[in-house]
């Protein structure tokens, strides 16, 4: 509890007012802790714009969302028309709607780049594990938010996309069909589904998102920001206890981010005003046809930001399960024969591998119903979910002695490059109609995606690391 402070008699009215407030609410304290006296490393580069940009997009989505909610009708009979009403009859409605639809895609672009920054500079490493985990939870919530929001325009792609994704939950063993029913509130995607998705989209998930964003920033400001060198700036401080390589967030990074924001808004506006459909990637052409439960479109593709995961789902065929079985056997044999584990752990590995093989249906030839395992669709859902869940474990998968890519062996950059390349390829293939050739590439991409993370404890410590400097690299402007 802070002591009560008296303002000097000759203080200005503004000063007296702040003293009055500070005696009742920690306004100045919060401002200083999080902005004016939050010391950030002075060597932030291009990649460090995306955190503040993600915040900006969140605000854009909330504000435009509020205005859209004033005119939108969450009713299967009216929803499509109400969006067109916004586009035509609501003053500046078209602008608000395009900001929101472009904002959804911009959010994912910014967040993907923000996550990639964390990955290459080791921002997930000790002591920032919780910053990373809160971030992953934000990503997961964002996916839920985007998925439910996409149903609301009630076009063909909204409808059938939701139908496909909700049906995935039906692949969960035992409770699946009931779970899917609970999500839809009906046996097919219908008015009931639209209403509950609307409710989740406009209040439930945004509340969770805001809470997580607050936690993400509080955790970050507790431990301090990482930087492109991965050096801890708190290790070297001046006489006043300020990090030698730190500068106050305000005004240095507020003005820096203002520049980032202006460039971002320029690109964002160029899309809104000159290519709001973005070639069918941000607004899918099929979604200008009202939802029709009786007519399935020839090609159903999720919006681009989900396509890498959708590719992994489609890649999981019986052939893929056979490949995975071989990998499981090889890994288990290697761990048992070569690994330095106790006998008990080795038995556990063997049992685990056998269970996994049984799950993949390897023992289906026995004809025993309890050895039939689960079908490829179920494992597709597991891989798709696992691809996001695995991100949460990154702080414990990465064993590199240097946090930042700058001080890691050169070939690590190639590993990151291959990972990013295949992530993009998976994304592209997920947006295309299924093809045999595309499926093989997706299967390879899926193996590379998971291999990148699951083998990280091994490969991330290999090679020649460069010494991390005590002070950050910084060239004065």
């Amino acid at each position: 509890m802070a002591d009560y402070i008296e303002a000097p008699a000759n203080a200005s009215a503004a000063r007296k007012f702040m003293v009055w407030v500070d005696n009742r609410f920690p306004a100045t304290k919060l401002w200083n802790e999080h902005v004016a006296e939050y010391y950030a490393p002075k060597n932030f580069n291009f990649w460090y714009f995306f955190g503040s940009l993600a915040m900006l997009v969140l605000v854009i989505q909330i504000v435009t969302g509020i205005f859209l909610t004033m005119h939108y009708k969450a009713d299967a009979a009216l929803a499509f028309g109400s969006v067109e009403y916004i586009m035509r009859d609501v003053p500046w409605g078209w602008l608000v709607r395009y900001m929101h639809s472009t904002g959804a895609s911009a959010f994912f672009i910014v967040v993907y780049l923000h996550m990639f920054r964390g990955l290459i500079y080791g921002s997930h490493r000790k002591p920032r594990e919780l910053v990373w985990i809160f971030g992953c939870a934000i990503f997961l919530s964002l996916m839920a938010e985007a998925f439910m929001g996409y149903l609301l325009p009630w076009g063909q792609m909204s409808y059938w996309g939701a139908q496909v994704i909700v049906n995935l939950f039906a692949a969960v063993p035992f409770i699946g069909p009931d779970l899917a029913l609970l999500i839809r509130g009906d046996y097919v995607v219908s008015d009931a589904t639209l209403n509950r998705f609307f409710s989740f989209h406009v209040i439930a998930v945004p509340l969770v998102l805001l809470g997580l964003v607050a936690a993400h920033i509080m955790a970050l400001h507790e431990v301090g920001s990482n930087n492109p060198d991965g050096a801890e700036i708190k290790a070297l401080k001046d006489a006043k206890g300020r990090p030698l390589d730190g500068i106050p967030f305000h005004p240095y990074y507020t003005v820096h981010d203002l520049f980032g924001v202006s460039v971002f808004l320029f690109i964002f506006s160029a899309i809104i005003f000159f290519a709001p459909e973005f070639g069918g990637y941000f607004l899918e052409y099929n979604n200008f046809i009202p939802a029709d439960p009786l007519e399935t479109p020839a090609h159903i593709a999720p919006v681009w930001y989900f396509t890498p995961y959708y590719s992994m789902l489609r890649a999981t065929t019986d052939l893929m399960l056979q490949v995975l079985s071989v990998i499981v056997v090889a890994a288990a044999l290697w761990a048992i024969l070569k690994g330095r584990f106790s006998a008990a752990v080795k038995v556990a590995i063997a049992v685990g591998a056998l269970l996994l093989l049984a799950g993949f249906g390897v023992f289906r030839f026995t004809g025993l119903s309890w050895l039939a395992g689960f079908d490829a669709k179920f494992w597709g859902v597991v891989l798709m979910g696992g691809a996001v869940i695995i991100l949460f474990f990154l702080p414990w998968l990465d064993h590199s002695p240097a946090k930042s890519i700058r001080y890691r062996p050169g070939w690590h950059k190639i590993v990151f490059g291959v990972f990013v390349f295949f992530f993009l390829v998976l994304g592209y293939l997920g947006s295309q109609p299924p093809s045999e050739a595309g499926n093989y590439v997706s299967q390879l991409g899926t193996l590379i995606y998971f291999g990148f993370f699951l083998l990280m404890p091994w490969w991330s410590r290999l090679g020649e690391f460069k010494p991390v400097p005590e002070r950050v690299t910084f060239a004065a402007h």
Binding site: R88, H256, V261, S262, L265, I272, Y285, Q432, A437
Partner: protein, 256 residues
Amino acid sequence: MKKLILSLCACLVLLAGAHASEGDIAWDKFPVGRSQDLASLQHGAKLFVNYCLNCHSATHMRYNRMRDIGLTEDQIKKNLVFATEKVGETMKNSFDPKQAKDWFGGVPPDLSVIARSRSAMGQGSGADYLYTYLRSYYRDDTKATGWNNLAFPNVGMPHVLWELQGQRNAKFVEQKDAHDPSKTMHAFAGYEQISPGTMTPLQFDEAVADLVSFMNWMAEPAQNDRLRVGVWVLLFLGLFTLFAWRLNAAYWKDVK
């Protein structure tokens, strides 16, 4: 690993040929400049209400929105509104869905945003599609309506603009499939005019272009505003970026 590499190579080969599918014809390019041309849009509006609105509706499009293409409310009321008294109404029609189903095998789709929905990645814009589709009708006695269409095979809609274009036959030849010599392809080999229309082929193309430019405008009436406002927004943001850049540099010049 060898298998993976082999399959990866196989994939690249197969991907190359994955896009060509049967029944699709290449879309003609809609003359884009017409979307900005008020006379073209107005002529298109006239064709639209006279030929399309009898069976189709455009339930999100208000008649008086056509003020944006240079018409007065009075002109709209006198020349373009047939189905209702109120110029603020949307373009509904009174076609009974059940009858539509009996006659054409389906309810004619609402046309408000048809131009946007018909775009296809790699093929062209919705306007390109409509411009091609409306000019690809030919006589086909095997069909209930007596009409068929190259861009939309077995289409339910008859050739509504036939009086303007006249009647045409389509000539087909059997060709060897270049990819598979054992198959023959039913290939289109040009039209053959049976009876003349009231328009020359060139006039007809222009009339369809006007109609499509109207439908394209109708799919997003705000599009011309959007482009106009967008230029100013980008000019402002460009200038703002310049100031933000210099402001940033001014603050950071002391950081050593």
